[in-house]
Symmetry: C2
Subunit: 469 residues, 2 copies
Amino acid sequence: MSKKILTPQEEDFPAWYQEVVAKAEMADNGPVRGTQMIRPWGFAVWEQMQQQMDQRIKQQDAMNVAFPLFIPMEYLEREAEHVEGFSPELAVVTHGGGKELKEPVAVRPTSETLFGEYMSKYIQGHRDLPMLLNQWCNVVRWEMRTRLFLRSSEFIWQEGHTAHATEQDASEYATNIHHNVYEEFMNNVLACPVLVGRKTEAERFPGATNTMACEAMMKDTKALQMATSHELGQNFAKAFNISFNDSDGKLQHVWTTSWGASTRMVGGVIMAHGDDQGLRLPPNVAPQQVVSIAIKDDAEVLDVVNKIDAELKDSNVRHKADLRTDVSFGRRATAWELKGVPLRIEVGPRDLKEGKATLIRRDTSEKQSLDINKIAAIAAETLPQIQSAMLAEATKFRDDRIKEVKTVDEAREAAQVGFGKIPWDVLGTEGEAELAKDAITVRCLQKEDGSLPKADENDNLIAIVAKSY
Amino acid sequence: MSKKILTPQEEDFPAWYQEVVAKAEMADNGPVRGTQMIRPWGFAVWEQMQQQMDQRIKQQDAMNVAFPLFIPMEYLEREAEHVEGFSPELAVVTHGGGKELKEPVAVRPTSETLFGEYMSKYIQGHRDLPMLLNQWCNVVRWEMRTRLFLRSSEFIWQEGHTAHATEQDASEYATNIHHNVYEEFMNNVLACPVLVGRKTEAERFPGATNTMACEAMMKDTKALQMATSHELGQNFAKAFNISFNDSDGKLQHVWTTSWGASTRMVGGVIMAHGDDQGLRLPPNVAPQQVVSIAIKDDAEVLDVVNKIDAELKDSNVRHKADLRTDVSFGRRATAWELKGVPLRIEVGPRDLKEGKATLIRRDTSEKQSLDINKIAAIAAETLPQIQSAMLAEATKFRDDRIKEVKTVDEAREAAQVGFGKIPWDVLGTEGEAELAKDAITVRCLQKEDGSLPKADENDNLIAIVAKSY
């Protein structure tokens, strides 16, 4: 590829991002400002994420529901701290069925309040606990500056909401989701190594007593928050009167949690792995893991591609046979490269004479000429190698750009080219406010060994500071 | 079960429906009028439908997308005939981000217009055709008289939208979806035998040149429209300027189709199969196909239930082990019966002494005392038998209530207790208007052999008339 398909990342990362989202056919702007149209390839990536995360959520015994899009304004006003966080972002429906509504309704910015009402109604005794619910849905938060997948007025997410009998149960469940759903999924499916830590009070979700986050480093060294899990204490339980009779018959408020991840993760995968030739999708999240291209319209070529197709589908590999020989080979190869398919098999009449075809890795650009009878099996074996290699590469990229620092000035400097690590005792809320002036934030607080501190652990914490999306 | 759990269907069908939806924990009313909260069991049924229908849609090469919730009002006004069908039902957002919007936006009642815009932008040449898209999403149509699952202001559906180079391609694709996605799914997954036919001009979707429907009979003998597929001719292509250069380089408008099915199908399954004890779910759509109940908290009992659980999961049966021995056995058995789980295994210490447990079919109430070492295998073998039996039962129920008639008066009478079949030449648009006064409609037009007529076939058609939801 001598011709530049995309603005190089080094030259202008935001331009690269915008172009790759368009040329890889991931998404487009919708007609109403701030809305997005997720195109087939972008949505297929999201479907992989959704399905694989949903499996993990179900393993944690949470059950899916579908609650309404419209929320009475009065619900949102009930939890003062919560509404302060959302009211400037609300979309409000004032007309329905050709008439002005007596009570305008909000389009959900989150369904927290509906879950509160539901739990209040259906939780009676201790046998109803824990109540573990989750919802995949669209939410709307009116945004002024939008960017496809990363920040849009409407996005798709999952929002988990659970109620527990004790603070400890709630805390354990939220932590468990954070590690076994989010962290595990991001490392092993998205090949995005995430730093897991607690948010500072300034960065916490309104109404939460503790917010845990997964933070990933993008190729421009900025941080992207990939998911958050909240302990809400009894705040929502009190606002929505969610109580139960404990085993001694005493009326108690429940302890709630909430946790979410969104289509923003698609942006994360693009920016954590993409290069100047386009997307690079980790095999576990690639809608097509291998594409085999018939270079020419030749009976033997088509036959070999179809055989490879059958063999790979038998091995449960997501494989696409590209038989569109009426489109030039170069154009198709470039398009699949842009779309980030992890492995390409190119089958042409010349190589076929020698019983060979070519296997190309998207992550390393490595090419191998292989026996046509072995190429499908080798491709299938290569996929897990690519998955590990991409995780290792992203981990090294990140770790090379994390600097341990000792002062606020050094932290500011480190955040220009990566993440800074600074003792929270040194930085403190004053240093945090100081960095905020340069749009640098504390992404999370970790223990010295890099692990997640509990809600009440405050000694010897390390702050990770960075610029972020 | 001597105590009546539900109002009997015979006594008051609408009351039975409302009660079973509540007591089987399927759904609840949302706080904003006309909205619904789909509860975990209801949503699990929908997830089965969604996944299995989605597989079939993908086999027809359609690709999923996610387009915005908000549509500019101007888009809806572009296709006059189309907007007439929707404007009284629109929910309109007039405020966003704390300000009044310059241009109010509609919450999508369907995404037809967004697909039109998208196709107009991305279809250039004949190689871009066919363009086969589908979307799973929520839509809003402000409704005055609502009923959970059947008619609600917000519902979840899939809407397929495709563009083709020729009228014949479009017609074949829509017909194919109608038979191989909808009809096949409803017969084989939902065990709801559907009559497939064409809509009359009066019943057609606004803007369509042909509408095909799947119509099922409910237990109260009313018809429920379970899905529709439309040929839109070049109407939308002209309104949205969707054109392509054909292989001769001549600019042509495309031919489009659309097709949809919704959460209404959940209501269909409830009303087509339910009885006075609750839901009866066909195994193919049941979130849990078998539930094994530990009657008492006894080590051996729990051990046997866990063994059955492992064995059934190994055979890919969706199985639930109910070990909640702190809740009375009777209460749990009633609850699973209400929820319509196709097979129940009851394991108690008394039977266990003789190495036995009990297997109960939900569809027939048949009970068998079986060897505990064989019961899991027998349960797994029984599921497909239940699936066929339920389809046969629903088919017989319907066929016994379809009457061939020769006059409008006879048709009116037949529609009080089932469906009437009357030659379309006899009924005609005048007879159709006559029946409409008694809320009886032509559900579809079929050929004499019961098959689907093409858009332009008009001779010797048979009208199916009924009351409907």
